[in-house]
Amino acid sequence: MKITPDECIACEACVPYCPVGAISMKDDIAVIDQDECVDCAVCLKSGSCPVDCIVFEPAPWPRSLRTVFSDPRTEHKATGIAGRGTEEMKTNDITGRFQRGWVGLGCEFGRPGIGTRFSDVDKVAQVLAKHGVAFESKNPVTALMEDVKTGKIREDVLGEKVLSAIIECLYPIEKFQEIITALKEVAKEVDTVFSVEVINRAEPDGSYPLRKLLDEMSMPYYINGKQCAGLGRPLADV
């Protein structure tokens, strides 16, 4: 995102819209810090500029990643869907992606409202790989890995900043404690925040074994969350 300096009237209207605080006033014009800007286009789409001097020009690789990971109206070529992740548990009634006895884990970097460099995503992905998780093949972060066995993300994208990027993976419920412990350790080494989620298929009686495990581990979790209502057809036999 850029602001045409000759046209800016210094009204400051665009400044508060930036989700990562990359717009500031310098010498009486609004400027966008190009290193911090994630190319989400919120400033442009807000219509806040009275003289239309905010412009977006598609960037070449690897900066082009900023837009696809930050603007939900763009589509990832790797997944064919808009946004940063996959269908994950939302279509589990149909795909059977998360079966009983397994846990889905998602780490959403940069969320909420901070943004992330891929170098931080890389640190955590490599730790998770060492613990044998299976990375979701349709996830756009997985598509950036040099090798899914190591979790190493390609070198040329590590410095790119995006609004958020999600690691999605799967592992047996028996490994839950081990993986959460490793995640807690590596969390101390990242320079951003990440929101952590876990997914579990309900038992026939409606209980969630993972919830029981979380309670036993005294692991805090939100009172609210997402549940698939089982209305999809054809139902997966899981």
Partner: protein
């Protein structure tokens, strides 16, 4: 796309926050799915949603309902601010038997009650373990309760602070302030009714 999962809040203020998504499973039931998504949105309009939206199109605070339905191109979203509306909506969606997946976000206990009332049972759960890492970079909980209602992170902390200041000075009502924030959340999962209450409380401090 965990965009309705990590909504921050208290038991009290989350009681008025239910976000739903209808979506197809790629490669399985995505043939001719758009009429079903549009019907999902039409049903929602009969239950007074506080927001609706469709991926790649926009939300109720950018477009008229009929424009969103006509332009629906992908997964679609609906937000209610009370469990009664949610239950009525789920009943009609179940009867319509559209065959696409439906995900309900909200307080687990409340959502389960609504599902049970219409003869549904949760299939898979998604739990938030909160925010990890360098949490000292985060704004206060009062801001996060508003900004996390856009899971894609498109509503900025500074904009929330700016509109809260306008409420405090009496230049904007909480409802009008929420409508400034809402269009930035293009999927339509932002809850302006809850936001107005949260902003009013923030401005009163």
């Amino acid at each position: 796309m965990t965009h309705t999962l990590h909504r921050r809040g208290t038991a009290e203020n989350l009681r008025g926050d239910y976000a739903l998504i209808m979506l197809r499973a790629m490669g399985i039931n995505d043939d001719d799915y758009l009429p079903k998504v549009k019907e999902f949105l039409r049903i929602a309009l009969r239950h007074n949603p506080v927001n609706i939206g469709s991926e790649m199109k926009g939300c109720l605070y950018e477009f008229l309902p009929e424009e969103i339905i006509a332009g629906a191109k992908g997964d679609s979203h609906v937000v209610f601010d009370n469990s009664r509306a949610l239950t009525g909506f789920l009943k009609e969606v179940k009867e319509a038997d559209l065959g696409l997946s439906v995900v309900v976000s909200g307080i687990f206990e409340s959502v389960d009650e609504c599902l049970e009332q219409v003869g549904l049972k949760h299939h898979t759960g998604n739990f938030s373990l909160g925010i990890w890492g360098k949490t000292e970079k985060l704004p206060g909980d009062d801001i996060l309760e508003v900004t996390t209602m856009c899971g894609h992170g498109l509503i900025s902390t500074n904009l929330v602070k700016a509109v809260a200041k306008e409420i405090k000075t009496g230049t904007r009502t909480p409802e009008a302030a929420a409508k400034i924030l809402a269009p930035n959340c293009t999927c339509g999962v932002f809850n302006p009714a809850r936001a107005a209450r949260l902003l009013a409380a923030m401005a009163a401090k």
